[in-house]
Amino acid sequence: MAVTTDQEQHGLTAHSHGAGAPISSRADHFTSFDVNAFEVPGGREEIWRFTPMKRLANLHNGAEATGTANVEVNAPDGVTVETVARGDERLGVAGTPGDRVAAQAWSSFTEATVVTLPGDAKSEPTTITVTGAGEGQVAYGHLHVHAKQFAEAVVVIDHRGSGAYADNVEFVVGDGAHLTVVAIQDWADDAVHVSSHHAKLGRDASFKHTVITLGGNVVRLTPVVTYTGRGGDAELLGLYFADAGQHLEHRTFIDHSASNCRSNVVYKGALQGEDAHTVWIGDVLIRAAAEGTETFELNRNLVLTDGARADSVPNLEIETGEIEGAGHASATGRFDDEQLFYLQARGIPEDQARRLVVRGFFHEILLKIAVPEVRERLEAAIEAELEAVGV
């Protein structure tokens, strides 16, 4: 067993180890399908303490749906797309809501989209475009993605538009299936999006989940991974870019309950502008039964201007000594002037040098995005972000 911890880096500050924070096991985390089983959060609760509750459009406080988000699925042959009513027995199998907004979404959606990816086959990418209900509107949704045994598939979920939207997204990854998901949050400036992703991995299943969050007033995404059999492998990647006034929050939870499973979490964010705020909470729980687990999680934040704030809290709980390895690292740093000097000293103008450094920072995530169109779009979006602030 090897447990590694922070890797100190030049120009970066290490994260705190939660000294002084109340210690509660992730295993005791409350979950329920019943919205009333959750108290209305006030913002002081551990899981809400970073979230600007006043900007949540009352999603946490019983806001009724005033509209619906438009869900459009572009699927290749062999992939089944259904719109189903509440009560379809397939819904809710991948996970149980872990906070009040997720339970509210579960209680409030009127119809769900179910995408079934054929087993024993390789499918072309499926694109699901979710467009908000419009400015000032509230909508709830539910999406269920099932990759059957030995399926090999890519699903891109593209969120855009205006309004408040809360939803649950399920990923059931069958035994030996390979599911790649890219979830893009490219909302309009007013949008509020609170979303829970529940991934349930079968034996020897492989799940690659990439989150890209660029637009929206408040985006809070909670991806949870559970394993039902041994040999599951989850890779969670995230890339976010917060501008002035944006709150982008990502809370990953890997629940290692089966033996010989792996997980790797890499989230990277850049921040610029007054009151740009990002939050990354990375929980990993290795339960007693999860022998032979191998896990690592990493969060890096690059603060480009004054007035921006990045919170980063990794939590690793280990209940068995029989693991392959576990570690985490987190650091938030300002723009490295030495890198800038070095590039400029080779004749590269300052604005170009800055872009090189930021692109370099995101490079390892971009490299792993298997869908070329998404990668190109993302590179263009990062360029646009950098141009907006004039760096």
């Binding site: 490295d336 002037d337 030495e338 890198q339 000097f341 070095y342 590039l343 400029q344 000293a345 080779r346 004749g347 590269i348 103008p349 300052e350 170009q352 040098a353 090189l356 450094v357 692109r359 370099g360 920072f361 995101f362 490079h363 390892e364």
Partner: protein, 257 residues
């Protein structure tokens, strides 16, 4: 004919405890075709001189001028200085994660040359330059300096020197931390650059051993933030024999060494 003129240069460094003067009136002129060795004990201000000329933001020029072919370098941004023909081979090259060496080299060459080099010629040019410095071609796809050994970093500094072909090159302790083979390879790279045109070289070093490979026309002893003595190559031999005692023994230098 390139000329770098440093006149009465005073430079302070910004530290947490405030500003501290490091360079106390440096005068030095380097003409094309000349190699000047700047030798001095640790802490004498040699590196400060190189960084101040390159324009590192940590250093404040409080008075004096630095002219490159009559143009005041101190009025230029860091990248303008490089494009004007100055090059600093750094003692501690900086790692830039996620930016490949090949992308970096091409971006720099494009900036310095004023146009993007033709891809076909460029690939060949880089390949040859790397091979001359015994650099494995695989380094082209690695992030700039990331995880490179000290020797690998120095080879890549000289690689950049060869590709960017500045008018005046400042080599800041390029020899430090090199084994004998690497020292020879790196020195050959510098000599190729010298032979490539009318260029000036400021070779900053603590030790005399690199001067066996790169012959200086002038040797300057740097102590107490200024040039304490200048001479020909024979001055290096004297330093080899006697060390820096004579210079750091001076009262005004004692507090700095």
């Amino acid at each position: 004919m390139a000329t770098l003129e440093i006149k009465d240069l005073h430079v302070s460094v910004n530290t947490d405890e405030g500003s501290k003067e490091i360079l106390k009136g440096v005068d030095l002129t380097i003409k094309a075709g000349e190699t000047h060795a700047i030798m001095g004990p640790n802490g004498s201000g040699k590196s400060t001189l190189s960084y101040a000329i390159a324009g590192h933001p940590k250093y404040d020029v409080t008075s004096g001028t630095v002219l490159l072919d009559g143009e005041n370098v101190l009025d230029m941004t860091v990248d303008e200085r490089a494009r004007a023909g100055l090059f600093l081979a750094m003692q501690y090259p900086v790692e830039v994660p996620g930016v490949s060496m090949s992308n970096f080299l091409r971006t720099a060459a494009t900036a310095v040359r004023g146009e993007a080099p033709k891809l076909r010629h460029w690939v060949k040019e880089v390949k040859e330059a790397m091979s001359e410095l015994d650099i494995d071609p695989a380094f082209a796809e690695r992030s700039v300096n990331e995880g490179f050994s000290g020797g690998e970093k120095k080879r890549h500094e000289i690689l950049q020197l060869g590709l960017l072909k500045p008018k005046v090159a400042i080599l800041d302790e390029t020899d430090s931390g090199l084994d004998v083979d690497a020292l020879r390879v790196v020195s050959e790279g510098v000599n190729r650059y010298k032979q490539s045109g009318d260029v000036g070289v400021m070779l900053i070093t603590h030790y005399t051993r690199i001067l066996k490979y790169i012959s200086p026309d002038f040797v300057h002893v740097f102590a107490g933030g200024r040039i304490a003595e200048s001479g020909g190559p024979e001055l290096a031999d004297q330093l080899e024999a006697e060390g820096y005692v004579k210079y750091i023994g001076k009262p005004e230098a004692a507090g700095i060494a």
